[in-house]
């Protein structure tokens, strides 16, 4: 669990982080979003004490960070950065095994763990263990970076724009894999990015920062539905916001049971997003879809008119509340 309360960081006259409070529950994925220089990376680095905060409290697992020995603290927090920070004079295997070795694991345990992680991150051991970082592609290097961060099985993972330098296809692939990994490992993650789509895709909790302050925080859906500030709204894509929201909604949450009417021709699996459903409607020129389960059996119906109506009801009910 990570708790920041009224944390500020001043560099001389400049205030990089200004009175932010933030709570990341155990096993949750928190994304800090904002343009460069908004203090998101500084916030991240204050958590593992790479930067000392000027005021406020940062609490990890019930204890103030300054009460931890910084070296020991960092060994229990995974850290991934954009430029990977891999050691160019070490092989992939040695890079990944760094923290376990610092923690004085036996060399057998280190080897076992390294192999396990390489497998987990989709890096075949025979092919990659003895390669050097300069022999890797950007995506492979970042996989090694993530594996290194996970090596000693830390509860907390800090990621500073880990996919920022990758091409869009590789980036998307690694995002998907990180989401799968997180569903399995349940780390407490703080993830810094300037890419709102990335944040919407991965985060349980979204924190929008601007000029050192938190502008708004909440679940991705809550922010999409009720951005409280023009800046947040523009970050969330302005007019595209509706589609982004639809991307976070499952088809099964909006389907109605199969009525008397004949099911529509086009079929869509229930765990697809509403955005994919809308796209399919546009493509196939229809306003109704048959929702199917994993065995491709019809279980319901999705109608455009109903989606639009529910979105309106959502809005009205929230306004009342």
């Amino acid at each position: 669990m990570i708790e920041l309360s009224h944390v500020s960081k001043r560099f001389g006259e400049d205030t990089a982080v200004d009175d932010i409070s933030l709570h990341v529950a155990k096993g949750k994925f928190c994304a800090l979003v904002g343009s460069s220089g908004c203090g998101k990376s500084t916030t991240l680095r204050m958590i593992n004490r790479l930067i000392a905060h000027s005021s406020g409290d940062i609490i990890l697992d019930g204890q103030l960070v300054e009460q931890y020995n910084p070296v020991k603290l960092r060994r229990r927090i995974g850290y991934v950065i954009q430029s990977t920070g891999l050691f160019p004079h070490w092989t992939v295997a040695r890079n990944i095994g760094l923290v376990p070795r610092l923690l004085k694991w036996s060399s057998n345990d280190v080897t076992t763990r390294v192999n396990e992680l390489m497998h987990l991150l989709g890096l075949p051991v025979e092919e990659f263990a003895h390669k050097y970082p300069h022999q890797l592609s950007g995506g492979q290097a970042q996989r090694v970076g993530v594996a290194r961060a996970l090596a000693a099985d830390p509860d907390i993972l800090l990621m500073d724009e880990p996919f920022g330098a990758l091409d869009p296809i590789t980036r998307e692939k690694l995002q998907d894999e990180l989401a799968k990994l997180q569903a399995r490992l349940h780390k407490t993650v703080v993830f810094v990015t300037h890419d709102m789509d990335e944040a919407l895709k991965l985060a349980d909790h979204l924190v929008v920062m601007r000029e050192g302050r938190i502008v708004q925080q909440g679940t991705p859906l809550a922010l999409l539905q009720h951005p409280n500030d023009p800046f947040v709204e523009s970050l969330l894509g302005g007019l595209e916001r509706g589609l982004k929201q639809a991307a976070l909604t499952r088809v099964k949450d909006h389907m109605t049971s199969l009525g008397q009417s004949l099911p529509a021709q086009a079929r869509i699996p229930a765990d697809f997003s509403l955005r994919q459903a809308l796209s399919m409607m546009l493509r196939d020129h229809c306003d109704r879809l048959t929702v199917v389960d994993q065995q491709d059996m019809p279980i319901g119906e999705l109608s455009l008119r109903k989606i639009v109506k529910e979105a309106r009801v959502d809005k009205v009910s929230h306004r009342d509340a």
């Binding site: 430029s83 160019p88 050097y132």
Partner: protein, 257 residues
């Protein structure tokens, strides 16, 4: 098949060590064979009473030369690298300009002048020439240590700290290994220059391969000068190619698959 590969690795000399070995062999042959080259040097100095320098054996002179340069190198490397490390740490940053200037001053000050100033204080013999070599050889090492350490990517150092390395571990395991090729290049320059400069020691009574040169100049015997110069050049070439081989090995290790 496996054993044959193994054997060839054990027996075969790696190609990068061939050149330094050749130069060292040539040096050895020249040192031991010099007294027998009377006929050749007679041709250079037909009228001299004696054409082969004989006040000391050449291997003794070579030994002293290597000793002086070696001692100076060990002290210079320790001082230079330590100073370079110290001023790139957080606590030593204030001394960075000072150390840079002192090292530059050492090299702009001519070794002959250092000798002239050192003799009244330290007396004649080996000590003044070691001091002169030390001052003269410090700059390349300090400069390259600073450059090498500064070249280490900031994000790599930050990652090392963030992984939970202590500052000492960051230095030992990350910064120094990555800076070693550049530092080694500085050591190479420093030592090679000092092999030649050490000959000046002969003027203040530190007997080494400079002796035949000084004696030759004083007595107008070019054969002596040639003998000293030849051996110093061969020593410099042997040591320089040794450093070359070391650097190649290092590059190989840093970029091998």
């Amino acid at each position: 098949m496996r054993s044959s590969v193994h054997r060839s690795q054990q027996v075969g000399v790696k190609p990068q060590w061939m050149r330094p070995a050749c130069w060292a062999l040539l040096l050895l042959i020249s040192v031991l064979g010099m007294p027998y080259l009377d006929a050749i040097f007679r041709w250079v100095e037909p009228n001299a009473r004696q054409v082969i320098y004989s006040r000391a054996e050449f291997y003794t002179l070579l030994g002293r030369h290597v000793f002086v340069v070696g001692v100076a190198a060990i002290v210079t490397i320790s001082l230079g690298v330590l100073a370079g490390i110290a001023v790139t740490r957080q606590w030593g940053r204030d001394f960075l300009p000072l150390v840079g200037q002192v090292a530059s001053l050492g090299q702009t000050f001519p070794p002959v002048a250092v000798l002239a100033l050192a003799v009244p204080v330290l007396g004649f013999g080996t000590l003044p020439i070691i001091v002169a070599l030390l001052l003269y050889g410090l700059l390349p090492i300090v400069r390259n240590t600073l450059a090498g350490l500064k070249d280490v990517d900031a994000s790599i150092k930050q990652a090392a700290l963030a992984m939970g390395m202590t500052p000492w571990q960051v230095l030992r395991r990350v910064e120094l290994p990555l800076a070693t090729p550049v530092i080694l290049a500085g050591v190479r320059t420093s030592v090679t220059i000092n092999i030649a400069t050490a000959a000046l020691g002969a003027t203040v009574g530190a007997s080494n391969l400079g002796d035949p040169i000084i004696a030759g100049i004083v007595n107008g015997n070019m054969a002596y000068v040639l003998q000293g110069a030849l051996l110093i050049a061969l020593l410099a070439l042997a040591v320089d190619s040794l450093f070359d081989a070391l650097q190649q090995r290092l590059d190989l290790r840093l970029s091998s698959s």
